[in-house]
Symmetry: C2
Subunit: 243 residues, 2 copies
DNA sequence: CGATCCAAATTGGTAAGACCAATTAGATCT
DNA sequence: AGATCTAATTGGTCTTACCAATTTGGATCG
């Protein structure tokens, strides 16, 4: 199948242009007739390619308007409906077990990798979140169990891509860099000692403090919401009085 | 998008016929011209629908031959490359934590559900595997944490759909019904006592015995492989001698 | 009677052309 | 400057024609 039909090679060419940034997310592809001209195929082949790409969630076709490149975030990514608290509780339970498993057999190379991520987490170049993710992913990988790694990767995908989770995590992570760094250092120390129980405890401690910070932030968000509603009531009352 | 274009409604009609079992996996759909007649649309609309369904991995189109319904197992399901042992180790760590979490607050309804699944697991109507899955899923659901449930569902999907895992699990599960039932009974008892530590231990014990059985099976499989290779060598030697 | 071969039938693949439906852009009017 | 209208541009559906690949059925041969 792949590559045998004309529409498939047309689709591949379009995807290449998207990947090269020539047509970034939200941009509009040339019209069917123009693309057919440029690629030296019939309009049917272009239409078929675009149907294929639409089925794959890569573009969206609008009648009379054109074909638009979808932002990858607009795909259905199969993310569950999970709150930040639920995610953090799950991470507490599962990532701590991954850390304990990894601590049994740490290599020098892995420890050096983790040290490097820790350093980047303390940096100021906006790379901290990615380094954080890689720190955790490296630990899961060091467990030597592909299923464990897969689960940790899924948890991190939820953390990075779920709107509901980000709304709570982002303000917390904005304010807690120092505590987070210290906790990750403690995790690394336990791993360096190849002490599974210590690694489990250090990882759980990290998430316990994270949940506490999240409670602070969500309380602040709830207070902000209450204040907003009180202001609305005040304005409505004054408006009624004036009428 | 959905339902707006003709090809989309054609695709939906085809999927309905597949879901109704009228065109089961591996069967061949009617030809484009015939489908176009039956549905009262042009052949182009049928082709477009089939391209869409092919992009979704639901059918496979062969030139000169026809469109064939794919077995769902032939999709790319995004399954990681995980061994049966890795999966079981991960389940040991993670499902035991889910059970401990669920044990904190078990409802009468959930316990009754679990009892029902246990009964079906002991039955002889080939329903045991599904009941087993639902037993575990219900526990994860009783944890009250959607992220935990999501992880357990993913682990079960790997268990059910990964060829490598099934090759090891199936012979084990064929032989160990009695032990499995007893272990699940122990898990249910711990949950009934709302004892998180006991639930964790019972779940881990279930997997410890499963891993032992898996070791037995894989040793048998390895011996079988050695015998097969020895037979091949013998046959090759005899053939050479005869030439 | 079974196996083989070959032509015809059937299947999907590609294209051109016609016309309809929806949107956008530009011109005109107030 | 904003509103309205029209033409241009866009995608949507269909018909027709012909090509490429596979399957089927009948004829022939051993």
């Amino acid at each position: 199948m792949p590559g045998r039909r004309l529409y498939h090679s047309v689709a591949e060419k379009i995807v290449k242009l998207i990947d090269q940034g020539i047509f970034p997310p939200s941009s509009r592809l040339p019209g069917e007739r123009e693309l057919a001209d440029q690629l030296g195929v019939s309009r049917v082949a272009v239409r078929e390619a675009e149907i294929f790409l639409q089925a794959r969630g890569i573009i969206e076709v609008k009648m009379g308007s054109g074909a638009y490149v979808l932002d990858p975030l607009e795909h259905d990514r199969g993310l569950p409906n999970v709150s930040a608290f639920e995610l953090t509780e799950a991470r507490t339970l599962f990532e701590s077990e991954a850390a304990a498993l990894a601590a049994r057999d740490m290599s020098k190379e892995t420890l050096k990798l983790l040290e490097g991520y820790l350093e980047r987490m303390g940096g100021t170049d906006g790379d901290a979140e990615l380094a954080d993710r890689e720190f955790h992913r490296t630990i899961a990988s060091a467990s030597g169990n592909a299923a464990v790694l897969h689960v940790v990767e899924i948890l991190w995908r939820i953390r990075m891509e779920s709107e509901a989770v980000r709304r709570v995590y982002d303000p917390v992570c904005h304010d807690d860099a120092e505590a987070r760094l210290a906790e990750h250092r403690a995790i690394l120390d336990a791993l360096r000692q190849r002490n599974p129980a210590a690694a489990r405890v250090a990882m759980r401690e990290h998430f316990r403090r994270l949940i506490q910070s999240m409670l602070d932030v969500t309380e602040e968000q709830a207070l902000e919401e209450l204040r907003r509603k009180a202001n609305e009531s005040r304005e409505r009352f004054l408006t009624s009085f004036q009428l």
